[in-house]
């Protein structure tokens, strides 16, 4: 049976899917009306974000109804798209092309480990194996001019686009906990949902109350009011959604708070990278040029942070 409605559709995941679609519909309508009422407000970024969250919501629902492997392949493709975008923007050399190929080939391997639930292999593959492999391939090419930049950039891109994002997929391979029925699917939905809400909340708080700039050199639209308001709202929402997680009340609150802060960090880190590459100002003005990275920047940092918080609080290091 490929298309059966499994038992968990009646449970927490179904509730969350409904909430998620509800919020997405609400957000879509809200930004549409807001754009109509106040055409001066620049909501392009927010609208694009909502659109990409729609895509993700559909993918996650498809995975819930069809097969979990859909999720692994989709998140793997997300890693691929992020990596392709970063490589395209970076100052690499023609001599790095073979190492770039190896970096791409690391994606299926890492997601295979995540799918099989081989925890140690999953942990070691990128930061140890690929960390050695990539420089070795570069050296074998025999071109040493500019090789330091290439070594560091290639491995850093691998860490961000593959290692960090693959934690999203590994959530699905975590063993079952007694008395917790939502499982990895619930955790994944919780994380994506909290990250999304955090982005939106920070934006809304910043737009309405924002005065004091938090780091004008990196991201001129980020304010202290938006940051604090967003993180606290996220923490409260996380507290109410704790039925998707194995956490107790205070744990859910704390985890959502930390995820909120991590989401902010992801956002500004990617902003800084793009600014250094000279893309920040052109990126949003030319239509269709905002890449996938702009959409999922916060998720790259929140996923490993959330994963290890789950690992520590719920599994007590026993996987």
């Amino acid at each position: 049976m490929l298309l059966s409605l499994p038992s968990f559709m009646k449970s927490e995941s179904a509730t969350l899917l409904m909430i998620m679609y509800g919020v997405l519909v609400f957000a879509t309508v809200l930004f549409y009306v807001w754009g109509r009422v106040a055409p001066a407000a620049n909501l392009t970024e927010l609208k694009l974000r909502t659109r990409s969250w729609w895509v993700m919501a559909v993918i996650f629902s498809a995975a819930t109804v069809i097969h979990p492997i859909v999720t692994f392949v989709s998140i793997g493709f997300l890693s691929f798209a992020v990596m392709r975008e970063l490589f395209s923007l970076m100052n690499l050399r023609m001599a790095d092309r073979k190492a770039v190929l190896f970096a791409y080939l690391a994606i299926p391997v890492q997601y295979f480990f995540a799918y099989m639930g081989w925890y140690i292999s999953f942990l070691v593959f990128i930061p140890v194996c690929m960390y050695v492999c990539i420089p070795a391939v570069l050296v074998a090419e025999g071109e040493t001019k500019g090789i330091i930049q290439s070594m560091t950039q290639l491995t850093a891109v691998l860490m961000l686009s593959v290692f960090c994002f693959s934690h999203l997929a590994y959530l699905l391979s975590l063993p079952e906990l007694p008395g917790f029925s939502a499982g990895g699917r619930g955790l994944l939905l919780f994380l994506v949902f909290i990250t999304e809400i955090n982005d939106v909340m920070q934006f809304v708080w910043g737009k309405t109350l924002g005065k004091r700039k938090i780091m004008p050199g990196v991201s001129p639209n980020k304010t202290w009011e938006g940051f604090v308001g967003g993180v606290i709202s996220t923490a409260f929402l996380g507290y109410f959604l704790r039925f998707l997680t194995p956490f107790e009340g205070w744990q859910a609150w704390l985890v959502s708070l930390i995820v909120g802060i991590a989401g902010f960090c992801g956002d500004v880190i990617i902003s800084a990278i793009k600014r250094d590459l000279g893309l920040k100002d052109t990126g949003s003005t030319i239509p269709g040029h905002g890449g996938v990275l702009d959409r999922v920047d916060s998720l790259g940092v929140t996923s490993p942070v959330f994963f290890y918080l789950v690992y520590f609080l719920a599994y007590q290091f026993n996987v």
Binding site: A81, S88, N91, R93, M94, R97
Partner: protein, 222 residues
Amino acid sequence: MKRFILFLLYRIFGQFVVKGLLGISFRNTQHLSRYPQFVLVGNHNSHLDSVSILTALPLNIIEKVHPVAASDYFGNSRRRAFWTRLLVNAILIPRQRPQTPGDPDPIKLMEDALENGESILLFPEGSRGKPEVIQPFRKGIGYLLREHPEIPYIPVYMKGLGRCLPKGKNLLLPLKGEVIFGEPRFCQGNTVDQIVKEVEFSVKFLDDLAAPMPNWDRLEIA
């Protein structure tokens, strides 16, 4: 039959590979449907250039657009010429004007195609060269458009494709690139040189629309 092969190759397989996997994006493709017949003129850095332009074409004209390929390279064996004609829908022309009477004339071959109502895709740089470096345009395009001022030309500018598949390399890498089409226009100049200048400028002008993209060749030691 040929139409079906081209449809399968470019509309199905090409869309998936070129857009989805390699990440090459097309801009202003609406310019391709304005006139039934045209001469596409582009810069040339990679074998991917013709493939991605064919992928961008609307289905109803896909078999009418013929990339122009050098016969000394693509026609050096019978088999290669056959596959190039079938899969890329190409016209093979010599790079030089006829040296001895009886040799095929490249301009004449292109004119024949235009007179049959077909469109052509021409890379006036002559060869692929280094990525992101535009070599001076050769004069063939000038002769062609001077004889056929009633046919519009469409400038097309490709950026980043020379990183995906540079000259002399076999490794195809997924990296973002752009194919930008300009507005179709009729040549203004009267002499060959004027037309060549005009076309060259209209191709280079499209660079302003392209997203910034680092040149990977800058550190390469020659």
